[in-house]
Point group: C2
C-alpha cells in the first residue's frame, strides 16, 4: 500500500501564480472536451433529482404540463439543465403519446448522448416517426458502437435506407460492425483508438497526440502494434505521463495484455473485464490485427444487463423491460405460462391417480399443496445459487460433485427443520400418522429439490443451453410431482386411507 499526499503543497507548486478561488468562473477554452453541465449549479425552480438520483415526480409533471400547454420555451428551460442521461430518463418517464411533443420542444438537446442512453424500445418507437435521412443525421453524431446499436434494431429495409444516407466512411464502419454477430465484441467496440509502433519514444508519442487534433479523446490506453498491426503491448496513460520523454514506449508498455477476439460474445467480454479488472482492451480480428477497443464504461451496461437477466429468465419473463411493446411481452411470457400449464398437468395426473384416497381423507387435499410448495421454493433457492455460480464461472467440472454434495447437506438440514414443524402441527391437528407421512414427504421433496436445483442447470450448461432459461420449468415440475407423489403415496402405503 503506497500513499502520497495527493495535492501539490503550496511550496512545491510549479509556478507561483495566484490560486483561483473555488467559485472562480473560469471559461473553458477547450470546448472539444464538452460535456459541461455548468448550468446545474444554478438553483433550479423545481428539484429535478431525488436523493436516489431519480427524476422527481414534480419535475416530470411540470414538464408534461408545459408540453400539454405547447409552451416549448418553458419545456426547453426546464429540460436544458439536465444531464443527457437524465433527459433520456425523462423521455422514458413521459407517456408514449407525449414523447413526440416533448422531443419537438427539446430537439436541440437531443444529442447523440441522449439517444444512446435511451431505452431501445422507446428509441425505436421514436425513430419510426423519423425519415431515414433524419435517422442518418443522428447516427452520424454517434460513436460507432452507439450508431450500430441504433441501426441494428431497424428492420432490413429501414437499415438499408439509413445506411444509404450515411457518409461513405461512416457507412463502411457501420456495415463492418454489422458483419459481426449480434451481441459480439465486434458490435460493441469503438473503432477510434490510438495505436503506435513499438520503436517510438514517450516524447514522440506525446508530440503525435498533440499534433493530430482529429484523434479521438476517448482512450485510456495507447496500444502498441507491430508492422502487421498486431498488438504487442499496451500503455496506461498514467505511465506515459510519468515517464521522461526519451524513454522508448516499448520500455513502458505492458507486453502481456488481454486481447478480445471480435467474435467473442459480450457476456464473455464482460467476464474478462471483471476478472482482469480492465479499463480498456484491444479487439482483434481473426488474423490477430487490432481493429478496435472496448472501454469499461460500455461494459458496465452489459454486466448489469447480463446479471439481472437471469432473474427474468428464471421467472420466464423474457427480456422483461417495462418499455417493451405489450405484444412482445405477451408472447415472451405466455410461452412459459403454457409450459407451466403442461408441467402442472403432470402433477394433476399424479393427484388423479390418488383420487380415491382423497375422497376418503380430504385432509390429503388440504395438505398436499404445502408439500409441493415447500419443495418448489427449496428447488428455486438451490437453482438460483447454481445458475449464478455457473454464470460467474465458479461452478465448473472440477467442483460439480462437491457443490452437489454441499447442496444436499443444506437440503437435509432444511428438510428436517421444516418437516419437524409441519409434521408436528399436522400430528396435533389431524393425527400422528398423517404428521409422520407429511414430515417424511417434505424431507424427500426438499432433498429432491436440492438435487434437481443443481443437476438441472448443470445439465443445461453442459448441453450449451442457458441454464437460467429452462431450468425453472423442469425444477418445478420435479418438485411438484415428487411432492404430490411422495405425500399421497406414503399416505396410501402407511394404511392411513385403508
Amino acid at each position: 500500500m503506497d500513499r502520497n499526499d495527493p495535492t501539490l503543497q503550496d511550496d512545491e507548486r510549479p509556478d507561483g501564480g495566484p490560486v483561483h478561488g473555488a467559485d472562480d468562473d473560469g471559461v473553458d477554452e477547450a470546448p472539444r472536451h464538452g460535456d459541461r453541465r455548468g448550468d446545474e449549479a444554478k438553483p433550479a425552480e423545481i428539484e429535478h433529482l431525488d436523493e436516489d438520483d431519480r427524476l422527481t415526480r414534480e419535475f416530470v409533471e411540470a414538464v408534461r404540463e408545459a408540453v400539454h400547454a405547447d409552451d416549448d420555451d418553458r419545456v426547453y428551460q426546464l429540460v436544458e439543465p439536465l444531464h443527457p442521461a437524465d433527459i433520456a430518463d425523462l423521455i422514458e418517464l413521459v407517456p408514449a403519446e407525449e414523447r413526440v411533443g416533448l422531443g419537438k420542444a427539446i430537439a436541440e438537446l437531443m444529442t447523440g448522448e441522449v439517444i444512446s442512453e435511451l431505452n431501445e424500445h422507446v428509441r425505436d418507437a421514436l425513430f419510426e416517426q423519423l425519415s431515414p435521412d433524419a435517422v442518418a443525421q443522428i447516427a452520424e453524431q454517434l460513436e460507432t458502437d452507439d450508431a450500430v446499436a441504433l441501426i441494428e434494431d431497424l428492420d432490413d429495409a429501414d437499415q438499408r435506407a439509413v445506411l444509404a444516407e450515411l457518409d461513405p466512411e461512416d457507412r463502411a464502419a457501420i456495415e463492418d460492425a454489422l458483419s459481426f454477430p449480434e451481441e459480439s465484441a465486434g458490435r460493441l467496440m469503438q473503432r477510434d483508438l490510438v495505436a503506435v509502433p513499438e520503436h517510438i519514444t514517450v516524447g514522440n508519442l506525446i508530440d503525435y497526440l498533440r499534433d493530430n487534433s482529429d484523434l479521438t479523446t476517448e482512450f485510456w490506453e495507447v496500444f502498441v502494434v507491430d508492422p502487421a498491426h498486431r498488438p504487442v503491448g499496451a500503455c496506461q496513460l498514467s505511465w506515459i505521463l510519468r515517464t521522461p520523454r526519451h524513454i522508448p514506449i516499448s520500455d513502458v508498455m505492458k507486453r502481456d495484455q488481454t486481447l478480445i477476439p471480435a467474435t467473442m460474445d459480450q457476456e464473455e467480454v464482460a467476464l474478462r473485464f471483471q476478472k482482469y479488472a480492465l479499463i480498456s482492451a484491444a479487439v482483434v480480428d481473426s488474423a490477430g490485427r487490432l481493429i478496435g477497443q472496448i472501454t469499461a464504461d460500455d461494459i458496465v451496461h452489459i454486466i448489469q444487463e447480463e446479471a439481472s437477466e437471469d432473474a427474468l429468465l428464471m421467472s420466464g419473463a423474457g427480456e422483461g423491460d417495462i418499455n417493451q411493446p405489450i405484444r412482445e411481452s405477451y408472447t415472451e411470457r405466455v410461452r412459459w405460462l403454457i409450459a407451466n400449464l403442461g408441467t402442472a398437468l403432470i402433477a394433476s395426473l399424479i393427484i388423479a391417480a390418488f383420487g380415491a384416497a382423497i375422497e376418503k381423507l380430504v385432509a390429503l387435499a388440504v395438505l398436499m399443496p404445502v408439500v409441493a410448495s415447500i419443495g418448489g421454493n427449496a428447488g428455486t433457492q438451490t437453482m438460483a445459487v447454481s445458475v449464478r455460480a455457473l454464470a460467474m464461472n465458479q461452478l465448473t467440472q472440477s467442483n460439480t460433485l462437491r457443490v452437489l454434495w454441499r447442496e444436499m447437506r443444506v437440503a437435509m438440514l432444511n428438510g428436517v427443520t421444516v418437516a419437524a414443524l409441519i409434521g408436528g402441527a399436522t400430528a396435533f391437528i389431524f393425527e400422528p400418522m398423517l404428521g409422520l407421512v407429511i414430515a417424511t414427504a417434505v424431507v424427500i421433496n426438499i432433498i429432491t429439490a436440492g438435487f434437481a436445483g443443481v443437476a438441472v442447470p448443470v445439465i443445461f450448461d453442459r448441453l450449451d443451453q442457458d441454464p437460467a432459461v429452462a431450468s425453472s420449468v423442469f425444477v418445478t415440475m420435479i418438485t411438484d410431482s415428487m411432492g404430490f407423489f411422495a405425500f399421497l403415496g406414503l399416505a396410501v402405503a402407511s394404511g392411513l386411507v385403508g
Copy 2:
C-alpha cells in the same frame, strides 16, 4: 462520428528508427509497471483455460495430484504461469481441506492481487489459520480498498490484532475507511489519487507527475482542487496528453463532474457510474473535500453483485454463494422456507373451508394446484420485471400507474390465452361447467398476479425495503390463496357440487 487511421503511418513516424519485430523480446526497464504475464506465452503442458476462460478439469486435477504427492516444485511449476485471478479461481476450485497444502506450495505467488480476487468465504477460512502478523503483512501489500475488504470481515478481536501489527500510516488509512458504513463509497474508494491546484499549466502537471515517483499509477483522471481541497474540476489523461504545455489546467478540465459522497451506498455509486458512463470519480467527505477516488474496475464487481443478487433474494436464497459455510446457507434459506410454510398454510385453510365440495367432486382437488401454479408463475414474471425496473430507477412515482396498467393488459392477454387452453381441456375431459369455472378462476388469478407483481414490490420500495427480498413470499401467498379461493368458490357458486 470521427475516425482516424489509428496507427502512425511510416512517413509520419516521429523518428526514423527501425521497427521492432513483433517477436522482439524487449526488456521492460520500468518494472513498476508490473503485471507482466509474459510467461503465458510459453506452451503449457496442460491447457489450463477452456474456451469459456474457466480452468480446465484436467489442469485442476493435475495440481491436486501434485499437492497430494507433496511435490511442491511441480505445483509451483503448474501454477506459476496463471494470472492472479486464475490462481484465486484455482484455490476456490480445490476442496477446502487441500487449500492449505496448495497455499504452502505457491506461497510466493499469493500476491495481494490473488488475495483480493479470492471469494471472501474461502479467504476468511484460509486466514483463520494465519497469525495476525501474517495477515497484517498481506494487508500491507494490498490497496486500501482491498485491505479494508479483508479486514472488515474479521471479528473484532482479530481486527484489532491485525490493525496493531500494521504500519501506523496504513493503520490510520484502514481505520478511517472502517469508520464509514459497510458497503459505502468510503470503504470502496482508493485514497491514492492525483490532485492539483487550478492555476498550474499542463506542463507543470506533467513535470510534477514525472518528478514524484511515489505517486500512484492507478489513476485515469487528475482532479483539480481549490485551496480547501474541494474538487473544482477533473481532467481525463487523454486531454492532458493532447494539450500543449503552456495551457492552464483550468482550460482543459471539465468543471462539471459527478462527485460521490463518502457515505453513499455502493449500489447507488454503481448506478451513477452506469448512468454517467464514468471511468473514475472523486469521493468527497461531508465538507465537500476530496478524500479518495473510485475507478470503474472496482465498480464492475459491485454491479455484478448487486444485479445478480436480486435473483437470489427473490428466491429466498440469501447471499447464495457456493463457498458460504453450510450453516450460514442453512439459516439464510430455512427462514424463507418457514415463511413459505406459513403462507402455504393460509392456502390450506382456504382449501379446508371447501373440504365438503372436494369430497363430493375429487376433480377439484386434481385441478386446483394448476390454478395456483399458473398464478404463481405469472406473479413471479411480473414481479421480476418490476424489481428490475425499480433497481434500475426506471420505475418511479411518475410512471407507476402507467406500468401497473401495462402489466394488467399483459396479464389479461396471458389470462385469456391460458384460460382457453385449460378451460377447453377440462370441459372436454370432465364437464363443460367445470371448464368454465377453471377458465374464469385462471383469468382472475393471472390478473391478480399482474396487480400483485407490480404493487407488492412498489409498496416495499416506498417503505424503503428492498423489493427483491420479501416480495416473492407475498406475491406467492396472494396468488396461491386467490387461486384456490377463486376456483373452489366458483365451483360451489356455480352449483357444480350441489
